[in-house]
């Protein structure tokens, strides 16, 4: 029998595992706890980015306002985009990857639990690094896509862009480390019988996203390294004035990353909604294989559409035609998904829970964003629309109407699995309707202000151009978001403490994560399940139900079951700290580079040479 070197822990159903207290969170390697850390941190940054957006909208509420300076306005919109993309939506998706992937494929943890902790700590420290400057009004100020040569030292001499370049490099390390981990987990830790075509759709979309991350992030890493070298060591990559550099180099490298990034942001939400809609329609997902293939097709085509962000630079008719066509093509697999979700709901016995409402919200609102996307897939149309509020309207329908609606749906759906308690449905529905009203009131008028020629990134405007009403509407809508968020936060924290006890499968869902107690024990599955179908709880065979029966038992410790758990360790945190300290050295004091490198290398060796878990005997 396997034994553990640790004292037998006492299982408490309310906290995560046997540990509590700050140290247990700093040293955890449990994918569920890391997922919760991601969730809280990303929700914090989501609200931080939201406050930035509200200041932006307050400034634009009426013509010729001077609530903030033009310079600070630049910092606000840059950090709003950077925060929402890299610190809110991606980590919110990562929270679900962490919590759900091992549960959905029947695994005890991710493939590399300590690397998983490392990813989180790099994200946290990198997020703090890139966010702190705005409190001192020295935040990055050249837009979230940081176009070089504008971002080179000649045009952006301050430390603002230094924070942006280094911050994104740090966050890239986190994303890549996590991507290697999840990719390996999905390929290699699937339970017996969990074939690729039986994987839950969320895990499938997560799998595709990891492939995109692995292939897209190195490209922006190199673009950022060039920029870093230009700014710190005087190289010429973006030196268009005296060295003859190509002004489009950055744009190409950035968008080769940037467009797959769009799918990195939205596919996890597609995955979540593909879990939500079947559950509350009491029907298996319609056209499962087609959903898989369309996801793969989106990812493949996603690497061939990047220059549609660059129609205005004059690439010539052949390039414009090619990228216009590929962009229109990508609407086909995306449209297939929309129709499949609708067909999933068709003739189902639908329960309008909050999660379901958010899921339906995604289908409706993302479609609006998708349709406006096809409009500017056509280069001549795009030349009218590019850099106007029409584009702002488009990508907010995609990212808020798509990603955020899906993520909220996921939170309401999985909250009982994470905490063991249900969220309040009445408050949830208030949150949903406030969000839908706020979202449409804010972003729909932007279609009109954009069509009337209002450019992006201007900090104020003159009256009498026909923009006043639409801006006032957008600002009014934006002021509803904080109310919606307050309802959500209140509901979240009160339900966490006093919500109704959920039980293992409160929604009657069909996939593996619902066979185990809520919250799951630290080992997830007492017995690694054997899987015979896509919905083991709906259409499984005897063996599925037998596994589910064993796994739903509560109160067993790892020692009772002879399961070896990994040691908790602080070392991944120290490596992350060393890495970020090293990067800080570039801006603050060069001595920090040595200190950080020493800490990183020492902790890394200490980590790699210590065993993951007690030896089996």
């Amino acid at each position: 029998m396997a034994t553990t070197a640790r004292p037998a822990p006492k299982h408490s159903p309310d906290a995560y595992g046997e540990h509590s207290g700050l140290w247990s969170w700093l040293s955890t390697v449990d994918h569920k706890r890391i997922g919760i850390l991601y969730l809280y941190t990303a929700l914090f940054f989501f609200m931080f980015g939201g406050v930035e957006a509200i200041i932006i909208r307050a400034q634009l509420g009426a013509p010729n306002q001077h609530l903030v300076s033009a310079e600070f306005y630049n910092q606000l919109f840059t950090m709003h985009g950077t925060t929402m993309i890299f610190l809110a939506i991606m980590p919110l998706s990562a929270a679900f990857f962490n919590f759900l992937i091992p549960l959905q494929i029947g695994a005890r943890d991710v493939a590399f639990p300590r690397l998983n902790a490392f990813s989180y700590w790099v994200y946290l420290f990198g997020g703090i690094f890139i966010t702190i400057p705005i409190l001192f009004a020295v935040a990055p100020n050249d837009g979230w896509f940081g176009y070089a040569p504008l971002t080179t030292r000649a045009y952006s001499p301050g430390i603002n862009i230094d924070f942006w370049v280094i911050g994104l490099l740090i966050l890239g390390v986190s994303s890549l480390a996590a991507a290697f981990n999840f990719l390996t987990t999905i390929i290699n830790l699937r339970a017996p019988g969990m074939t690729l075509m039986r994987m839950p759709m969320f895990t499938w979309m997560a799998f595709i996203v990891q492939v995109l991350l692995v292939l897209a992030f190195p490209v922006i890493t190199i673009a950022l390294v060039f920029l870093l070298f230009d700014r710190f060591f005087g190289t010429n990559f973006y030196n268009t004035v005296s060295a003859g550099a190509d002004p489009l180099l950055w744009q190409h490298l950035f968008w080769i990353f940037g467009h797959p990034e769009v799918y990195i942001l939205v596919l996890p939400a597609f995955g979540l909604v593909s879990e939500v809609l079947p559950t509350y329609s009491k029907k298996p997902l319609f056209g499962y294989p087609v959903m898989v293939y369309s996801g793969i097709l989106i990812a493949v085509l996603g690497f061939g559409v990047w220059a549609h962000h660059m129609f205005a630079v004059g690439m010539g008719p052949i390039a414009d035609t090619f990228f216009g066509l590929t962009t229109m093509l990508i609407a086909i697999p995306t449209g297939v998904k929309i129709f499949n979700w609708i067909a999933t709901m068709a003739q189902g016995s639908i329960r309008y829970t909050t999660a379901m409402l958010f899921g339906i919200g995604l289908v409706a609102l993302f479609t609006i964003g998708g349709i406006s996307g096809i409009m500017h897939a056509s280069p001549p149309a795009d030349l009218q629309q590019t850099d106007t509020y029409f584009i702002v309207a488009h990508f907010h329908y995609v990212l808020f109407g798509g990603s955020i609606m899906g993520i909220f749906g996921g939170i309401y759906h999985y909250f009982p699995k994470i905490t063991g308690r249900l969220m309040d449905e009445k408050l949830g529905k208030i949150h949903f309707w406030l969000t839908v009203v706020a979202m449409n009131l804010t972003f729909f008028p932007m279609h009109f202000s954009g069509m009337l020629g209002m450019p992006r990134r201007i900090y104020t405007y003159d009256a009498g151009q026909g923009w006043d009403l639409f801006n006032a509407m957008s600002t009014a809508g934006a002021m509803i978001f904080p109310i919606a968020m307050l309802v959500f936060i209140y509901n979240f924290f009160v339900s966490r403490k006093r919500g109704e006890i959920a039980g293992s499968n409160p929604w009657g869902a069909g996939t593996l994560e619902w066979t185990i107690p809520s919250p799951p024990p630290e080992y997830n599955f007492a017995k690694i399940p054997t899987v015979t179908s896509r919905y083991p709880l709906w259409e499984g065979k005897e063996v599925d139900y037998e596994c589910a029966r064993i796994n739903s038992q509560e109160g067993k410790t790892p020692a009772d079951l002879g399961i070896v758990m990994p040691y908790s360790t602080i070392k991944p945190l120290l490596v992350a700290l060393g890495l970020v300290t090293m990067f800080c050295g570039l801006i603050f004091a060069r001595a920090l580079i040595g200190v950080g490198a020493a800490l990183m290398i020492f902790s890394l060796y200490s980590w790699l040479l210590s065993p993951l878990e007690p030896e089996h005997h």
């Binding site: 290697f180 390996t184 190199i222 060591f233 089996h616 005997h617």
Partner: protein
Amino acid sequence: MSASATPVSAPAPHHYTALGIDSRKIAIWAFIGSECMLFVSLISTYLIYKGRSIVGPFPHETWTDPATGRVLKPILNIPVTSASTFVLLMSSLFMVLALAAVQNKEKPKQTRGERILGNSKLWLWMTAMAGTTFLGFQAFEFTSFVHEGLTIRTNLFGSSFFTLTGFHGAHVTAGVLWLVTLLAIDYRRGLGSRDSLLVDIAALYWHFVDVIWIVIFTLVYLIK
């Protein structure tokens, strides 16, 4: 880490894997896939900027400085780099022998030849030394370029050349450190066939870095 030791009667081992191979091997392939895109970006930038530098020195052409009248010869030293490329290629052979030596550690060895081939320390040393020699060549190349007036700031060629080859050199450096770490383990407790995965993934990385150099050598040095 030692799932193989779990008796049959025990519950499903923690390290059950769907493909039956160690997760680290899959992760290193994913990592290599990512590294491919890293070098594709670096190499593409080099090629895009090829021939677009305004001032010399140039890689394959002579350049006369209009201000001073000084004539600068083509800067790339192909014979020397061919030698360093040969050394790096040989290091891959040594790496293969090192892995074979670790995998066959427990097999009895009769002849002197078998003992030499089975000496994992020897082949790890040879690989690390070949890598270090390559880095020495690169240090020599970089210093001589700087003496001839090409720095990372001189022109587009200098920026993209030093960044590309420097990134590759950094990868070789990391590989040498990895090999030295394996050597330290070998000296401390001896690497046996149970450790072959550790050497296997290091070898995959090493061969990858080697292959990337063949691409760089061809595109940067050989093709004018």
